[in-house]
Every structure is written in C-alpha cells, then in structure tokens.
Symmetry: C2
Subunit: 207 residues, 2 copies
Amino acid sequence: MANNAKMKIVVLVSGRGTNLQAIIDAQQTKTIASRIIMVISNKENVAALDRAEKANIPFQVITSKGKSKDVYNKELLKSLQTLNPDLIVLAGYMKILPSSVINCFPNKIINIHPSLLPSFPGLKAQQQALDFGVKITGCTVHFVDEGCDTGPIILQEYEKVHNNDSQKSLSLRLLKKEHAALVQAIQLIENNKVILQDRKTLLREEP
Amino acid sequence: MANNAKMKIVVLVSGRGTNLQAIIDAQQTKTIASRIIMVISNKENVAALDRAEKANIPFQVITSKGKSKDVYNKELLKSLQTLNPDLIVLAGYMKILPSSVINCFPNKIINIHPSLLPSFPGLKAQQQALDFGVKITGCTVHFVDEGCDTGPIILQEYEKVHNNDSQKSLSLRLLKKEHAALVQAIQLIENNKVILQDRKTLLREEP
C-alpha cells in the first residue's frame, strides 16, 4: 500500500458536525497529517457548515431535499469524482451511500457508528442499546460497504451503560469516544497501519 | 424482594465445567454465600461431574441421548421441581431449556454467554466474533427467557480482540471474564441488587 500520509479528506455531514470538529481539531493540532479539502452537507444551514467556515475549510451543500434519490446521488458522485479524495469520512451523514459512490471509492470510505457493531445498526443506536438493556455499548469506525453498518471494522471503543442513562447522557459520553476513535482511525489509515483481509482488518500497531 | 442470601443453586452443565468450577471456588472462599445443592449434566462422563464430586457436591446425570426431547425435558423438570432451587445456573449447558422449565422458575434461571449480546447469540460465539472482525467482544450474564440468548442482561464484561487471536486464544481470555462475571452476578442476585424492569435490569450497586 502506498504511503497515505497527507491524505485529501472529504467529510460528509448532515447536522451538528461534532465528529467533523474532532477531525478539524486533529488537523489543527497536527495530530493527523491529512487535511480536509471539502465538507459536503446534504442539508443547508447546519452547524457543521459553520464549523467548516470557521476553520477556513471549503464546503458545499448538495441538497437532497426535493430531488429524486437518483439525481442527488449523481450530483454527489460527480462532486466526489472532481475532488478525487484519498478518504471520504461519513461524520453524522444521515443518507445511505449508493453503490455507484461506494464502488468508485473502494475501501476509501469510513463511517463512525454509535454502537458496538453488529449490535444496533441503523438509526438511534444509542436508544436501541438502552431499550435492549445492554450494560456495555460503544462505537465503531468501519469501512463502508453496501450494507447498513456492515463493512469491515477498523476500531471499536466500549462505553459502560449506567442505570440512570438517558439517550442524551449516553450519547454524550459516546460522542467523546467517537471523536477519539475517528481521529485514531484516520491516523492508522494515513500511516498505512490498516490491512484489509477479506472482510476483516488487521492493525499493524494494535491500539 | 426477599433476601436471597444463601440461595440454593442448581448448576446445569454439559462439558468441562470451568464456569461450574468458578462457582465452586467462590463458594469455598465464601465469595458467595449461596451453595450449590446439585449439579445436573445431560451427558455422562464429563469433566464437570468430576469437579462436583471432588468438591463433595451432589450430582446427577439426566441423559438427553436416545430420548425424545419431550421425555428428557419432563425428567429435567421433575428433578428441578424436587430440588426447588432459588437459582438455576446454565454453565456451558448446551441444550435449549423448554418453556415448561422456564415458566416454572421465572427469573430464576441465568446463563453465561461468550459474547456481548445481542451480537453473536447461539453456538460458537467466539468464532462468530472473529469471523465478523470485531475489535471488542465480551461476555454476558443474562436471565433466560424463551429466546436464544435474548433475556434481560445482568452483567457484561468486554474483552479486546487481537490481530493474531484464534478461537482458542480468544475463548481462553473470555473464560476468565466469564468466571468473574458469573460469580459477580450470583453475588448481586443473592444480595438483592438486581431489579428487573420489563426486559431490563437495574443494579442497585453498579459494578
């Protein structure tokens, strides 16, 4: 694998952008060598775009609202092909990427999910975990494949669930773990430490 | 809830009985106040029975081999009703308990499972975890309901998966966590620290 240091990263967002902020912070403190070349949101006026602007990172809105899925996906793919990133990070991006995008960037798209996959894929993972009554949950950084949160896992971090946890309190603690895991995953990838074998990853230096 | 201290425990086994040994050790060191009144195996000549004998704990074999499921289940239920335990522990017991037994001992049956449920229920959970490529797995102590490893969770412990883990190496590390979790769950139950609310448990003192 070629040396990926200083990868060009595109971050896809849909909302608050706290995971985007974690990457921005890591870039500014040189915790990672890679740089975000573009933030793309499928929604206008979200806080994630303010974070990009404040950090002088280019951003664009490719709105999914009022468009057919097909039209939206083609616009997104065209933009991504023009940008030609080394890594695409889904950071709270609430749309399912179509296979056209996934196949165009094989093993170059990662997602952060607020559960220990394969438990609780999909939406509201924290509430799913509370409803099931697990005592340990966590977060997962994984490569994106065509399934819903099913791709090869790069990193996982655990978090204990407390008696009195609400969706909010648990989500807040998980967010901290998500931020750390996402930055660590980017570090591992830019340093060529992630080896993909079938559907599993081996890490050259285990965290 | 009545004070359960010094519960009468029946342990169901099918094989090596290392989880049984953990309970025997906890009983002998007075880590738990409860006592095992009977070990029941569905197989003859398994190491678990030697462990019971060595510890002077009564044991019986109710063989499932060569019998209809119905006949076996009736024999098991009759034996359990005669013993009238406060707690039934499935410790590597490889049969599915029928609803007749589960309904007769509501919230009095616990199981130890070598994964962080709801991930990887059923057989060979460690291999399932390795095949999926998770970075964190663990073990779960839960009340037994009519599903397969679906009952309310009492305790979970996590364990990291390493690059070079085999089914054997991971299982060995998990076993240590299982032993600790199982003993801790019995402690919590005998001290009335486990409160069941719908399908969830609250622990009066969180570990």
